[in-house]
């Protein structure tokens, strides 16, 4: 029978005196009565009340726990649900229904996972360990107590540490490992005394007494039992008082101090009856019977033995019940194991699914990562390509700049060429004392010069403007040559003269050649035709004259003294080459000699302003 005291949560209730107990119970009930609000506070109150009255009125206690459970579920309050499971487990435990108790403790443990409260878990480990201890499954009991202990230490909860140490000591006691038991008890005692928790200290002293009694170290046993009694008395814990008194009685019995033994035994029985604890009553009665036997008071001995037997009967049924419980538990555990296996399988499947899911996620992540990488790479490639393009663009811009400059230089070269030819003409008028013509010529020349200066600033100008300059040039030349030639300018109607661009003065050198060389040796009126028309996506500009075209030497020799083609022609060729390299076009100049005269065709890529 239980000679030692396992400390569970409920033990602390015994710290309360009867009056205190009633006051606490009443205050909780008053709260429930006055505050009907269905909130978490009500759940807490219900659980506290259930906890308070668990030994006194287990049925009501269970009702309150059920109510707390219902409300918690309604509120979807996980902490309340877990707490309610634990409380129900405790109620079943006090009712010695270990199967249901274990069931609810496990449910509480499961429900508690969502609230992540280690202290909650720890309390359950302790209670579960208590059940295993009751079922004499000491290894499992030790297992759970260890868990309980380590959490208690981690959370620095001394009260839980004491409980854990004490309960582990009890297990070692049951395992006949007294040395370890004593060591655990002493450790527990040190902390308990430091805390000044008399009730707990009383329990531990009692347990120590029991160990020393078992080892027949009566002095130490007596010391511990006396200490236990003293503290139990101070804290008003009758259960411990009864156990301690019985222990002392046993010591005296073993020491053959029968009268003293009888005295303590009777006191123990009395208190055990007061707290209505059957097993301790049996303990006391058995001790008393033994004492009577030793005292050779056989009648009393038999009497007490009979009483013990009667109580034991019910107690026996208890033991039977415990055995049945164990078997039930075993069955339940086997079932649970099967269930666990199923659950584990399910969990494995879930885990596999989870792994699969994570795989998918991982794959997706890898895919996404890959995609990002790809994008990054693509970005880099695009950036690089863009950079290259920009560089190319810059390079080509630079090339354009270079050719622009070359072009400008070429255009600028036209000017001195013109100027000298014109100055020549003016000189000619002055020689002839024709001031009116000289003035006319000069002003026209000035106008042309302005135009050329302005136009040569541009890469391309509208055909209309270039033709204006060209016409002015021809007027000047006609004036100078006393109208030895006439000119005609024809532009096809499908060419928008204001919107079609040509390089400035591109035709002028050819006109100049016609005038200076074609007509130089010519008898009769010269004629120049400028004809501009579209030829596919090219603009064809024709300069046709009726001069001495066939005599090519006339063109080359008369142009300058070097016997080469005129400077203007050379410059124009160079300009067309540059245009081709810039526009990737196939602009060209072709010369054809007519029966009378020369035909120059300048083909340029069509360029529009807008």
């Amino acid at each position: 029978m239980r000679k030692i005291i396992f400390i569970s949560f409920s033990l602390f209730l015994s710290q309360l005196g009867v009056a205190q107990y009633a006051a606490v119970k009443d205050s909780f009930m008053a709260v429930l009565k006055h505050n009907k609000a269905e909130d978490t506070n009500r759940v807490k109150t219900l659980l506290n009340l259930s906890y308070t009255i668990v030994y006194d009125r287990p049925d009501s206690s269970m009702n309150y726990a059920d109510e707390a459970m219902e409300l918690s579920e309604k509120l979807k309050w996980q902490k309340g649900i877990a707490g309610s499971f634990r409380q129900k487990g405790l109620v079943y435990y006090t009712l010695s229904d270990n199967v249901n108790s274990m069931d609810y403790y496990l449910k509480a443990l499961k429900a508690g996972r969502t609230i992540h409260s280690e202290i909650f878990d720890a309390s359950l480990y302790n209670n579960i360990a208590n059940i295993y201890a009751d079922l004499q499954d000491y290894n499992k009991a030790l297992d759970y107590y260890s868990k309980y202990l380590s959490i208690s230490r981690k959370l620095k909860s001394k009260i839980d540490e004491v409980r854990g140490l004490n309960n582990m000591g009890n297990v070692y006691f049951e395992l006949n490992n007294e040395a370890s038991g004593i060591s655990f008890f002493n450790e527990a005692l040190a902390i308990s005394e430091e805390m000044g928790n008399k009730s707990m200290s009383a329990s531990i002293y009692n347990n120590l007494g029991a160990i020393f009694l078992k080892r027949k170290n009566y002095t130490s046993a007596l010391n511990n039992f006396e200490k236990s009694y003293e503290l139990a008395n101070e804290s008003g814990n009758k259960n411990i008082k009864a156990t301690a008194l019985n222990g002392i009685a046993e010591i005296y019995l073993n020491q053959n101090k029968y009268s003293q033994a009888e005295d303590y035994s009777k006191r123990s029985l009395q208190i055990s009856k007061e707290v209505n604890d059957l097993s301790w009553q049996v303990n006391a009665l058995e001790t008393l019977s033994e004492i009577y036997e030793k005292e050779k008071n056989y009648k009393n001995s038999l009497n007490t033995f009979k009483q013990a037997l009667i109580l034991k009967d019910s107690g026996l049924s208890n033991i039977k019940a415990q055995k049945i419980t164990r078997m039930e538990m075993q069955y339940q555990f086997d079932k649970q194991q099967a269930l666990n296996k199923a659950t584990a399988d399910k969990n494995r499947a879930l885990a596999a699914a989870e792994i699969n899911r994570q795989k998918v996620i991982r794959n997706a992540s890898i895919g996404l990562g890959g995609l990002l990488l790809l994008i990054a790479v693509a970005g880099i490639v695009l950036y690089k390509r863009r950079k290259e393009l920009l560089e190319k663009k810059r390079e080509s811009e630079f090339n354009v700049l270079v050719t622009d400059t070359e072009m400008k230089a070429l255009r600028a070269q036209m000017n001195p060429h013109f100027i000298f030819n014109s100055l020549n003409s003016i000189n000619d008028y002055i020689d002839k004392h024709d001031s009116v013509k000289a003035t006319l010529y000069t002003t026209k020349f000035a106008k042309l010069m302005r135009m050329i200066l302005e136009n040569s600033e541009q890469k391309e100008i509208p055909i209309a403007e270039d033709l204006k300059a060209l016409e002015l040039y021809m007027q000047l030349e006609a004036l100078r040559m006393n109208n030895k030639f006439t000119y005609e300018i024809k532009v096809d109607e499908n060419i928008d003269q204001d919107n079609t661009l040509i390089p400035p003065l591109i035709l002028q050198p050819f006109v100049e050649n016609s005038i200076w060389h074609g007509f130089a040796q010519k008898q009769g009126e010269g004629k120049i035709l400028i004809y501009i028309h579209k030829d596919g996506n090219m603009i064809s500009c024709i300069v046709e004259d009726n001069g001495n075209g066939k005599d090519e030497s006339a063109y080359t020799k008369a142009g300058d003294n070097t016997g080469k083609k005129s400077l203007g022609m050379k410059i124009t060729k160079a300009r067309i080459d540059i245009i081709n390299s810039l526009k990737k076009s196939n602009a060209a100049v072709t010369t054809s000699y007519l029966e009378e005269g020369t035909k120059i065709e300048v083909k340029l890529p069509e360029a529009l302003l807008f």
């Binding site: 003035t439 000069t442 002003t443 026209k444 000035a446 106008k447 302005r450 204001d498 919107n499 529009l608 302003l609 807008f610």
Partner: protein
Amino acid sequence: MIKVLIIDDEQHCIDRLYKLLIPSQEKLIEITGSAQSVEEAIGAVTLLKPDLIFLDVQLGEKTGFDLLRALPAINFAIIFTTAFEKFAIQAIKFSAIDYLLKPIDEGDLNVALLKLNNEKAQKTISGKIDILLDNTQKNNFVPKKMIVPTISGFEFVDIANIVRCESDINYTTIFFRDTKKLVVAKTLKEFEELLTDHSFFRVHNSHLINLDFIKSYNKGKGGSIVLKDGTEIEVSQRRKDDFLKKLSEL
């Protein structure tokens, strides 16, 4: 009779103009004198009270504009004469004052004289001069205003208020910041020539826009511009590159 004063720092230019004016002199024009410096000119103007001055832009170290600034009142017509002062020609064009390029062409001179006779709005001359002097302070040409010919006469226009110009064959419609419109008897090309150097750009055959009023540019073949007044203007495909280059220079 029109009283004419010729102001030029080179005698041969005065002589040349004198010679060209002789045929007209008998009928309408009386040449009252000439001057070769700003100081001399101030005296001549005060003394002779001419109706028309041929005014050379470059007068020694000074300019014809300096002379105009020095005079208390402008109550005569002006025809500028210049050889090749580009900024001066631009400035003169902005104030719509007539000018002749040297060496002066007889035909051009006759046209200028004819215009002078026809011009009803001689009263606007002091306004024109104001704009000219305003635009050419410290001999730098920073145009703020311009004079534009309208159907009814002349209009003074604040360049900064022009959002855009739209071609309408031989006329141009100017759109202003305050949503006002003005139809001007000038081609868009003429406006382009005047304004291109002053933050204007011809993005299209029929559109000249003030770059200061661009709100956004939408990419496209040529793309299009949305101006601050909400109008969307198409950019000619061929102008796109130059336009974007111009934008990047801003």
